[in-house]
């Protein structure tokens, strides 16, 4: 309890709530949630799905105390089957068949008063198969018991106050392995919601237009779908029931780009403080990271499985997070200097007024010191990890970026495989090798596949084949059939055209596009930078709305970027620091190379 109080106290003082665009989007989502709850008169019991991501998603916008202010007097888990005494029982469910089974089980086994109204809400959106199945199960018995079945489209999740994410890391695999185009449709629906945030909800004939620029196959498809969805009656009927605040967001255009225009960058090691936290420890849905407590406290003894959760929502973290891991100390020293300046006072010479000012500042000073200590410790841990364990891999990545030979296997990769190093690390290096040389020679690819299978087993071979299908590992010529349908990246050519490996760069300068990857400028960021420079001329354009809005068209600011297939945090940092006209960054998911590989789907 004490720790919680400390955290709340720190949060109250030092939280950085994000950019104005993120705050507007959060306000929109919060109002979606509240309008649903407030439309139900009387007290409510929320029954949460077993899938905890639903609760996490809701809690990003409203915690238990805030929900209580909107009539929520109890929170139950759907598996505990606890009786409710409120007029409404509200089910927050994930749109899956598993959740549907749990709901039916609850209805069958929990003895609630028949007058209690069951309200089902799928979060973020209902999968129509689930809805249809609910209607037909037990000849409609369950459907009749439910007062309403709706959805709360909490599509956009805030990430570190700088990015909105759909939290769909599996989208690339779905598109490339399963051919499941419906995920593009979900992107289109979510982007239309984003347009509603900007333009408000009104009939299309009265709506200000929104320009959509798209690069890449998926982006083009999404742009088309957005236009079709906008004109459909279904969208109108869906949105009629909701009445959130409209027109909060100031966005003049939306730029869509495929991750697969640049599949290489996620395979590389990120080198920003932010990105490395995600790579090594994994930043969770609630913007926190869990680290081994023994390591955090630098103790020899202790429970090796004990974890410490660190929330990454404070102002100090915001200032440090984009720094290159080798330059964190520079920024940290600035923060420390400010803290020392704040602490400088001469008690004997201070007036009463100055004293009262100091008293007010003291909690903030204390908490900043605490935060800087925490984050400096995290930085030390990360540096140690990078220097001691990843330095060879990082150097190899750098070498491959400079020059890559498709005809020979890389000895370091072979050694790592022979040594059964972590599988994802090996697969990422194979991918980098393949993508940088424009495709592996068939004999080299076969060699890699064989030794991976021998060291890790057939499940690893399965993963390699799926990476081939996804285009993360490519074969040059040859008779291989496991081919990716998406066009190849052509790294060698792109490297020259976009100057992706500049001679001069600085890890300490955030306005250098090559800083985050120590001399490598991600192609995706380069494309966006060039597009922004020429005001997106040459990019295929779609206009949603009826007439041209000259003012918005000429204003280069207010650009929203949406990356389909995922964005790394280091790329996010580059865009944030180098493209001031990009007011809002959105993506299907914030990913790392490991996350991309771990979310490869099954057939």
């Amino acid at each position: 309890m004490a720790a919680n109080e400390d955290r709340d106290d720190a949060a109250a003082i030092l939280n950085w709530e994000g950019t104005s665009e993120i705050k507007s989007a959060n306000e929109y989502s919060r109002n979606l949630l509240f309008s649903v709850l407030d439309s139900l008169d009387g007290n409510k019991t929320i029954v949460w799905d077993r899938d905890r991501s639903v609760m996490h998603r809701v809690n990003l916008f409203a915690g238990a105390s805030v929900l209580a202010a909107h009539g929520v007097v109890a929170n139950h888990s759907i598996e505990t089957k606890k009786s409710a005494s409120t007029p409404h029982v509200v089910f927050f469910l994930a749109p899956t068949m598993v959740s549907l089974d749990l709901l039916c089980d609850y209805i069958d086994n929990v003895r609630n008063d028949s007058k209690i109204l069951y309200q089902v809400f799928f979060i973020p959106e209902a999968w129509f198969v689930v809805r249809e199945s609910l209607k037909t199960r037990a000849e409609g018995k369950y459907w009749e018991r439910l007062e309403s079945v709706k959805e709360i489209p909490l599509c956009w999740l805030p990430r570190d106050g700088e990015c909105l994410s759909l939290s769909s890391p599996q989208i690339a695999a779905r598109l490339l392995i399963n051919g499941d185009w419906t995920h593009l449709h979900k992107c289109a629906v979510a982007l239309n919601q984003l347009i509603d945030m900007c333009r408000g909800r009104s009939s299309s004939s009265n709506q200000r237009p929104m320009s959509i620029y798209a690069k890449g196959k998926w982006a083009s498809d999404v742009a088309k779908m957005m236009g079709k969805i906008r004109n459909s009656a279904e969208a109108d009927s869906m949105t009629k029931n909701l009445d959130p605040i409209e027109g909060l967001l100031k966005i003049n255009r939306i730029v869509l780009i495929d991750r697969w225009m640049d599949p290489l960058t996620p395979m590389l090691s990120q080198l920003t403080f932010y990105g490395l936290l995600d790579e090594i420890y994994g930043i969770g849905m609630v913007n926190s990271v869990k680290v081994p407590e023994m390591e955090f406290k630098n103790e020899k003894d202790g429970d090796p499985f004990q974890e410490k959760e660190v929330y990454l929502i404070d102002e100090v973290y915001h200032r440090l997070k984009h720094s290159h891991i080798n330059a964190v100390s520079i920024e940290a020293s600035k923060v420390l200097a400010e803290i020392r300046d704040d602490e400088q006072f001469d008690r004997d010479k201070m007036s009463v007024a100055e004293y009262s000012v100091l008293v007010k500042k003291m909690p903030k000073i204390i908490n900043r010191k605490k935060m800087i200590e925490v984050h400096m410790r995290l930085a030390e841990m990360i540096q140690s990890h990078v220097y001691c364990k990843q330095s060879d891999s990082i150097k190899l990545e750098r070498d491959l970026l400079e020059y890559s030979d498709s005809d020979k296997a890389i000895p370091l990769i072979e050694d790592l495989i022979f040594d059964a190093s972590p599988l994802n690390a090996v697969l990422r290096l194979i991918s980098v090798h393949s993508l940088t040389c424009g495709g592996l020679k068939p004999s080299v690819l076969q060699h890699y596949r064989r030794i991976v299978n021998q060291s890790y087993g057939s499940s690893a071979l399965n993963k390699v084949l799926k990476m081939q299908k996804m285009g993360l590992i490519r074969e040059k010529g040859g008779g291989g059939k496991m081919q990716c349908e998406y066009a190849q990246m052509m790294f060698q050519q792109m490297k020259k055209n976009h100057d992706m490996l500049p001679e001069e760069f600085s890890e300490a300068k955030l306005d250098d596009m090559a800083y985050a990857y120590s001399g490598f400028s991600p192609l995706l960021c380069k494309m966006l930078e060039e597009g922004d420079r020429v005001k997106w001329v040459g990019w295929p354009k779609t206009v949603i709305g009826d007439k041209s809005d000259l003012i918005a068209e000429r204003d280069g600011r207010g650009t929203c970027v949406f990356v389909i297939g995922g964005l790394t945090r280091s790329e996010l940092a580059i865009i944030r620091e180098n493209l001031p006209n990009v007011a809002l960054i959105t993506t299907s998911a914030l990913i790392t190379g490991d996350k991309l590989l771990n979310n490869i789907t099954n057939i």
Binding site: F128, E132, T182, E234, C388, R449, N602
Partner: protein, 852 residues
């Protein structure tokens, strides 16, 4: 009305009359006579045998018999417009309109037919199986807004249906053999249907399910010295007007317990009248002959001994229809409405000095006449301005003449200017809208002279329904738009009814339904609907389906821009392939799923899976559906595999079998899955993958025998490192390289502590150097053995690797520094961060090298 001097063709239909209404006082009542239509010769009522008019100013129906046993029925609007002509009917004995805007015609044999206002037959009620010939018939209003029928045969038995739309017949037989001298049927509010039979002065009443009983409690007011010959229930179904043979009229309560008023008429032998009924709720009429009608005040406020208040009106061959708020007189050349004026109308129009409304109206008149100074004088005496305004608005609604309506509305607006607070214009706006509608309905071309009270009684929806029934679609749309706005639901309803009528008219005709005819009809209807964007073309298509014209529906649906509606209609037409293509083109998963569900419900699996497989977008959605349902149902993956095989998708088949192998717990089944993956890879034509899987398939059975099915090749070699023969066998089976075998053997021996074997292995020349030996000893903490192998290490790369394995960062740095190898030195420096004591010293070497 200005008269045209030019000779003109005589008009066939009537003419709207705009003459001011006349009025007469009838005690505390004031009767207004409004001529509605003139020159109504076309009604041709002179030779009519039967006449009936629909309540609420609906159409009239007349029956002629030009020759014996030959009968024809015509239906017209009140203004004379023909809705149906020369409808043949056999021996009608009774005609009446129901409240549902239907015409009831009863023939002598007791068979009742129900027709629409356009003469279309709707239904039939058969009484004849239970009764003799018809003697008399009554209709009565029901609580549900419909009409019931009561038929009395020549034997005095009464047969009743409570609703013309639910012909369930029940009957009641009186105990006497004589015919009753008067009778009626009615349904009190929220009660069962009642039958009242009067035998001279004996009152019998019964309701459904009960027998007739004498009403003894009526003795307090019954005049037992005479016969009761007429009884009529009022529109509110709360009172009955009784007429005796001696010329007395009594108003009694519906339960016969109370008599409110008794009037004795001495100037006329009213018992011989040809018609008798209510005029509003405080007066009755007695039609003595087609040329004379007597109006009688029967107000409850009348006291015994008061003078009888009557008014005699001469008419020309009049026929009467009874309305809730008055009666309508159909004469030879005109139609006239008689009503008892409302309180507001009396207050405003009678110039009563005590009424504020009269003053306000006078003020408006003065203003319009140009004597504005008098209007202010008139307005200053008004006591309650709000009441005056309301009275003027109400009177405007009750007025027939548009000019008079305008003047009254101006009076209301004039009054609003003098109110101290912001006036509430809701009433005024509503009145304006409703007056506009009423004036339109009263036009000769429409012929529905509704009064405002009638309009309020039936509501705007019913008005629109009546217009639809009459086929007046354009007027219906106009009225709906005026009352509800452009996007009113009533507008849509009218349009769809028009579509349905247009389609059914064509489909019922003898016209050949060839393609040009269908296209012409499609063009006609679509052009109309395009003027109303919010009305869906899909609804028109659905109407065509209902009329069994699927080709027409297909023509309609091509114009539909809403994909969801388009797909839904195609499914109704069972054009599943077209629906699937449309849904796929829309790129909306929900639509595709809708079609897939339709297929799954209506066709066999093999059939619909084949249809789905032709469209890739639908195929992947269906696969996702199968996968998700399979996960929760615990079903096998056979269905998914069948789909992949059907599509000849060998790539995904290969991956599918790999996925099965990953999740399979049983080693034998796992091996089978891998074998199937190999077969799929072979079918795919990828020899390289097939080759690897061949090796896996060859290796796995031995693993299963050894109980090591979960171990990789590497793990197995490490585990078996001490057995030289086994290692050689594994090398051959799995096609390992020498390097792999040596590395894993070293690690295995170190792990198991087989240090002697490890030493023996080290005696041979090692092609991979001796650093792996050192590394393995460090990993498995064989500290005492490290020195032996470190002594054998030679060569710069191996020495650096060995030092790093032993965490001798400074020594490794020295070696690199001596060779000026900056890359290696940098790498050593990176790794030395693990050891805080050595890291600075390594850093010194790096800085020294940089300085050089």
């Amino acid at each position: 009305m200005g008269e045209s001097h030019a000779p003109s063709k005589p008009k066939l239909d009537g003419e709207l009359c705009l003459r001011p209404s006349s009025s007469v006082f009838l005690g505390d009542q004031q009767l207004y006579f409004t001529q509605e239509y003139l020159r109504t010769n076309s009604l041709n009522l002179k030779y009519v045998v039967y006449f009936t008019a629909c309540q609420f100013s609906g159409p009239i129906a007349v029956a002629y018999s030009p020759r014996p046993a030959s009968w024809y029925i015509w239906i017209r609007t009140i203004s004379g417009r023909i809705l149906k002509r020369d409808m043949a009917f056999n021996e009608p004995v009774f005609m009446e309109w129901t409240r549902a805007h239907c015409l009831l015609v009863l023939n002598k044999a007791g068979r009742a037919h129900i027709f629409s206002s356009l003469g279309e037959k709707i239904s039939e009620v058969i009484f004849d199986s239970q009764m003799s010939d018809v003697h008399e018939c009554r209709t009565f209003a029901t609580s549900r807004g419909d009409s019931g029928i009561a038929v009395m045969d020549v034997d005095g038995q009464v047969s009743v249906v409570n609703s013309v739309s639910e012909p369930v017949i029940w009957s009641m037989k009186p105990p006497y053999s004589e015919m009753p001298t008067a009778w009626t049927a009615f349904q009190p509010h929220s009660q069962l249907t009642h039958i009242l039979l009067i035998f001279e002065a004996v009152f019998l009443m019964g309701c459904q399910g009960e027998s007739l009983r004498e009403q003894s409690h009526a003795a307090s007011w019954v005049d037992s010295n005479t016969k009761y010959v007429k009884c009529v229930v009022d529109d509110a179904r709360s009172r009955i007007a009784m007429m005796t043979e001696s010329g007395k009229i009594q108003i009694v309560s519906i339960d016969l317990s109370t008599c409110f008023c008794t009037v004795e008429i001495t100037d006329h032998d009213i018992a011989k009248c040809i018609n008798f009924g209510w005029v509003g709720n405080s007066a009755v009429f007695v039609q003595m002959s087609p040329s004379l009608i007597v109006f009688v005040n029967v107000s409850a406020r009348r006291k015994p001994g008061d003078e009888v208040q009557i008014y005699e009106k001469m008419t020309a061959n009049a026929k009467i229809s009874i309305e809730p708020d008055g009666i309508r007189l159909f004469e030879s050349t005109q139609v006239e409405f008689v009503e008892a004026a409302s309180r507001e109308k009396i207050a405003v129009l009678n110039r009563n000095p005590n009424e504020d409304g009269a003053h306000l109206y006078k003020a408006a008149q003065e203003m319009s006449q140009g004597t504005g100074h008098n209007s202010f004088a008139a307005s200053t005496v008004i006591q309650d301005l709000y009441k005056a305004i309301d009275d003027c608005i109400s009177t405007a609604c009750d007025t027939w003449q548009p000019e008079e309506q305008k003047l009254l509305l101006k009076a209301a607006r004039f009054g609003m200017a003098y109110t101290n607070t912001t006036p509430d214009t809701t009433k005024l706006m509503r009145a304006i809208k409703e007056i506009r509608v009423l004036n339109e309905l009263r036009m000769v071309r429409t012929g529905i002279p509704l009064t405002h009270r009638q309009f309020r009684a039936i509501g705007e929806t019913c008005v629109i329904n009546r217009l639809i029934d009459m086929g007046s679609y354009s007027v219906a749309i106009k009225v709906a738009q005026w009352l509800g706005g452009e996007t009113s639901e009533n507008v849509d309803r009218v349009l769809l009814e028009w579509v349905r009528r247009s389609i059914s008219k064509v489909s019922k005709s003898n016209m050949k339904m060839d393609q040009p005819a269908l296209e012409a009809l499609d063009e006609k209807i679509s052009a109309k609907l395009l003027q109303f964007p919010h009305v869906s073309i899909a609804d028109a298509a659905r109407r065509a389906i209902e009329a069994k014209l699927p080709e027409l529906a297909r023509l309609f649906i091509r114009r539909e821009t809403d994909d969801a509606n388009h797909v839904a209609v195609l499914l109704q037409l069972n054009d599943v392939s077209a629906a699937l293509q449309k849904a796929s083109a829309s790129q909306r998963p929900q639509l595709i799923h809708q079609v897939v569900r339709h297929l799954m419900n209506s066709e066999s699996r093999s059939s619909y899976e084949l249809a789905i497989s032709r469209i890739p977008l639908a195929q992947c959605l269906y696969q996702d559906l199968v996968r998700q349902e399979g996960e929760t149902r615990g079903a096998s993956s056979r269905q998914m595999l069948a789909l992949l095989e059907q599509a000849s998708d060998f790539e995904r088949q290969t991956l599918f079998h790999f996925d099965v192998a990953e999740t399979e717990r049983n080693p034998d089944e796992r091996l089978n899955a891998l074998r199937r993956a190999k077969d799929a890879a072979k079918s795919m034509g990828d020899k390289a993958i097939e080759e690897i899987l061949n090796d896996v398939s060859a290796f796995a059975p031995l693993q299963i025998q050894r109980g090591q099915a979960d171990m990789s090749v590497r793990d197995t070699v490490i585990e078996m490192a001490h057995d030289t023969a086994k290692v050689a066998q594994l090398k051959q089976q799995a096609r390992l390289t020498d390097k792999q075998v040596l590395l894993w053997t070293i690690e295995g021996l170190a792990k198991k502590g087989k240090m002697e074997q490890l030493f023996d292995l080290a005696q041979k020349r090692s092609p991979i150097g001796y650093a792996p030996f050192v590394k393995a000893c460090v990993r498995y903490k064989r500290l005492d053995e490290i020195k032996k192998y470190f002594a054998k290490v030679n060569g710069y790369p191996d020495l650096v690797a060995a030092h790093l394995a032993m965490k001798n960062y400074v020594e490794a740095a020295k070696l690199a520094y001596d060779r000026r190898d900056r890359d290696v030195l940098h790498a050593v420096h990176m790794k030395s961060h693990e050891d805080p004591t050595q890291c600075p010293r390594v850093g010194q070497f790096l800085r020294s090298l940089d300085q050089n």
